[in-house]
Amino acid sequence: MIRVSFLFLYATCLFYSAFAQQADIHGTVSDSTTGERIPYANVIVLGLSKGSAANTAGYYRIPSLPLGAYDIQASAVGFEKRTVRVVVLDDKTITVNFVLPPSTVRLNEVVVTESMKPELLSTQTSVHVIDQSELKQVPVGPQPDILKSIQILPGFVTTSDVNAQFYVRGGAGDQNLFLLDGMRIYNPFHAFGLFSTFDPDIVRTTEVYTGAFPSDFGGRLSAVVNMISRDGNAGQFSSGVNVNFLSSKIQIEGPIGNSVQGIFTGRKSLFSNTFKTYLKQDVPLSFYDAFAKLSIKDPSSQDRYSVQALITDDYLSGSSGSDAAYSWSTKAVGVEGNFLMSDRLFWNLTLSLSDYEARRIVGEFGSAPPGRSTISEFGLRANITSYTDSKDIYFFGFELDFPKAEYQFVDRLGTQVRLAETLLQFSLWMRYQLNADGVNADLGLRAEIGNFFRWGDIESALEPRASISIPLSGQWRAKASYGRFSQGLITVSNEDDILPIFTPWIVIPTALKPQTANHYVLGVEGPLTPVLSATVQAFYKQYPSLVAYNRDKIEVTDPDYINAEGESRGAEVLLRYSVPFMDFFASYTLTKVVLAQSGFEYPPRYDRRHTVNLLNVLRPAQGLDVSFRWEFGSGLPFTRLVGFYEKLSLGDAYPNSYVDETGQPIPIYGAKNGARLPTYHRLDVNVNYILLRLPGLEAKIGAGVTNAYDRKNIFYFDRATGRRTNMLRFFPTAAFSLEFRP
């Protein structure tokens, strides 16, 4: 198929060169202050219906302009527009690199930003693109956080305040793919989910796919969070420090010579100290993370290369000798290249190595068994963009990953068990993005060759993906998407755990089928008024194959896990309102999730029927912003306890040994997840003010209140006693940050 595409392209080029003199215009769009490339910038030819959007590397290409003079304009959210006059004299490709200065006047940035990214958003149904500026507007507690911020988007469900793990459109927590510059991150959370491991200051853009994602992503069933990091400031050296109740941070960035720039950030938790000092509470939790990136740009071409590394480490100590301690660590390093292989062939190549480890460390009197889960991975990924004479674009590429998942634990018999397996994840994909009379389509196919060799199953190896967007009246569009997905690597933990702390990864054994899902999405979107836009989508997610606890496991020889089925359906509404002094964002999600195995159906514990998120950002004065976030979720399912009974174990199985045996009290449960917890709601308020802005120095202060009206949201209750534990109560925070730009 790829070869056919190439032949077609080649023939097309020959045809045009023979009969017409046309030239391409290409180049990059960069930030004038930092030198960083700007993803999704729009570049258009004024007066013509021609244009292009920059890709995530800031590269754009406008193909086949006839001889003549043109005004080419580049624009991006938060930047001034720039227009350049270009004269096409012959058929040679013309390079026009735009350098955009940041806009001095704040425009309707936050909530209408997505409409400024047509390349991605005009066709796909379930994608959101979040820039750094948007990220920081969302009050999510004491400090900005990427994964907490994206949870205001429709389709996301969380099960607790202290857990950034999320469930997207009825998918399980391990069905989400996290990528940072192409590196797969297996545990993107600090402190069992209190924060993510990504400092928001290192992330330039985050693409969030909540379903039916295109064919260049795979290996997960539900969602993709694709983060692209910043390159650092190419113009000048700068540094900053930030201290708040929960963590401290240092950041350094700047140019190293003419064509190299770098960024380094490091964070360290301060929980234990602050909670102990001010609240007299012992929080045995600590973490640190560090990110470093060096980027090399070739001034004479569009090529850009980078090497980046992420290190994170967490430790949760047991509060007593009988409690287990936990540790998590991630080490990842990646090399990325963005370059033109030939005139119309843009390559993005990523090579990554990562190492993830989670440990459960048991003390002298510990009851839980010790455990260790690791994933060592080598990955190579190529994403190639092939531009054509029209607006149509071909994407194709491959991904070669070798995650080695190892799970070691000591079972209750004291036997050391080790499960270790390497999964070959080799996939090929292609996409065709076309535009005809305003109808946009994105058609793709992903071939999971590794799945085919492992499971011999063609159904889970071929994954068609399609999205289509049709213009309606005005600026309204109707959209539809379909995609098939598979997953061969899953986490295993007690699926009824309220707060899964230790979630080991394993490769799905060949005795079971890999997990698969089909996504169907339908929606409309458009402006209700010039400043108010709306998106309405309905989704249906079918799981023909899931891996679930074998409820009927009785004998030793019965498998622990079996294939189950499931489905999730729902609807989402997203409203965005923006005026210069205020942004308002509202999302509502209706979801129903059902899992089924051997004829038994039940809702998983993350089946939240209604979710509402409201976000209001006010900017009453220069340098001052006040944000309000209100979140509402209907009750999550739980299993009621309906009594206890005395269970005999039949002892050593010798005759009549049960007659005078003293039994153990065993709980009797009601219908699995048949009851619902109370509703959840919470209001967070944040105020940020630029205290001092001098040449080379900026000081900011911030204050916030989490759970402003002190709502008692239930976290969990003790099954035996019924004692209730609530989530975060009223919690004031403050932050101070200094940034130096010599």
Partner: protein
């Protein structure tokens, strides 16, 4: 030209929007004020029955207990269902059980007697299906069915008898062989040395179980870890011949132990016992002991009962034995012991 929504001008549609948002917030606060939750569902009393029919005994037992709401309500003595009518029938004959109190063989923290239903003179016939019915005015009625497996054939050949009678004559392991009975889901093999301990107060019948495995923990101090096998699945192999051997070292060590424990003893016999369990018994047994699964990575405990609508187990087993008479006196050969430590 006025830009809609520009600073200082509060547009009409924004006012309307704000009003609705305010109303929604206000309403939702009140609507969701009720945050109480009862972690306990409605308590419906249930009965658990425990009865395992033994074809080798003419006394059968049934324990009947009731469920309770919470551990706070727990008073162990009150758990027995004392007003039940307990019957077992094979379709032609019905046996009615009477209640009694049994002393615990190993008094624990609950050292009181155990309330059980008992039928004396009732010896289930191997290969027969029985139905248990428990009717209690206070706890309801439950019924369950089980089939006692048919008997099997045990054998141990003559050469094995030599090894058993004189363990130091060979390094062969004592072996027993038997065929798996139809309907048997699991079996348990026991190998015991029966002897008499002659004391000034009289002769006491004693027995010692030979372990499947004897692990030397410390040679210097002669510390051993005796490991006994639990019930094993037959894998549904009805009629299959099973050979089961015991390490000769385990057997020798047990002979020594008899001599060490009793200065004046008389060896009687070495006895192989094969207990074959039916499916109801085995499924309950394994589910109650899931943690015995060496390969399981799950941490939950399933709760299974073959009693329809109830809890507990109604199962059955059949016992077959074969004995080898031992010399009254069995000499030991100490040096051999140390070879295991080399």
């Amino acid at each position: 030209m006025r830009i809609p929504g520009s600073l200082g001008l509060w547009p009409f549609h924004l006012m309307r929007l704000t009003k609705w948002i305010g109303l929604a917030l206000f309403a939702s606060l009140f609507l969701s004020c009720d945050d109480s939750v009862d972690p306990f569902g409605e308590f419906v009393p249930r009965m658990a029955v425990y009865s395992v029919l033994s074809a080798e005994s003419d006394t059968q037992y049934v324990r009947v207990v009731r469920s309770y709401r919470s551990p706070d309500d727990l008073t162990k003595g009150d758990l027995a269902v004392r007003d039940a009518v307990v019957e077992i029938t094979d379709g032609s004959q019905t046996v009615v059980f009477s209640d009694t109190l049994l002393e615990r063989s190993e008094p624990s923290e609950f050292g009181d007697s155990v309330f059980v239903y008992v039928a004396r003179g009732f010896k289930p016939v191997p290969g027969t299906t029985y139905t248990l019915t428990v009717t209690s005015p206070s706890a309801g009625t439950i019924s369950a069915t089980t089939r006692v497996p048919p008997k099997s054939n045990l054998s141990t050949d003559y050469s094995q008898n030599v090894v058993i009678r004189n363990p130091w004559s060979s390094v062969s392991n004592p072996v027993v062989s038997f065929t798996i009975s139809p309907g048997a889901s699991a079996f348990l093999v026991r190998f015991r040395i029966e002897y008499e301990d002659i004391t000034p107060s009289g002769v006491i019948q004693k027995a010692i179980d030979v372990p499947d495995r004897l692990v030397v923990v410390s040679c210097f101090q002669e510390v051993y870890d005796f490991q006994f096998r639990t019930a094993s699945s037959t894998g549904g192999s009805s009629g299959k011949l099973v050979k089961y051997d015991y390490p000769h070292f385990s057997y020798r060590r047990c002979v020594e132990l008899v001599n060490e424990r009793s200065y004046n003893n008389r060896f009687l016999r070495a006895k192989f016992t094969v207990v074959q369990f039916n499916d109801e018994w085995y499924k309950y047994y394994t589910s109650a002991r899931t943690f015995q699964d060496r390969f399981s990575i799950r941490i939950d405990q399933p709760d299974y009962s073959p009693v329809p609508g109830g809890l507990g187990v109604f199962g059955g087993y059949v016992v077959d034995t074969i004995s080898v008479n031992l010399p009254v006196v069995m000499q030991t050969s100490r040096p051999d012991l140390w070879s295991a430590c080399e």
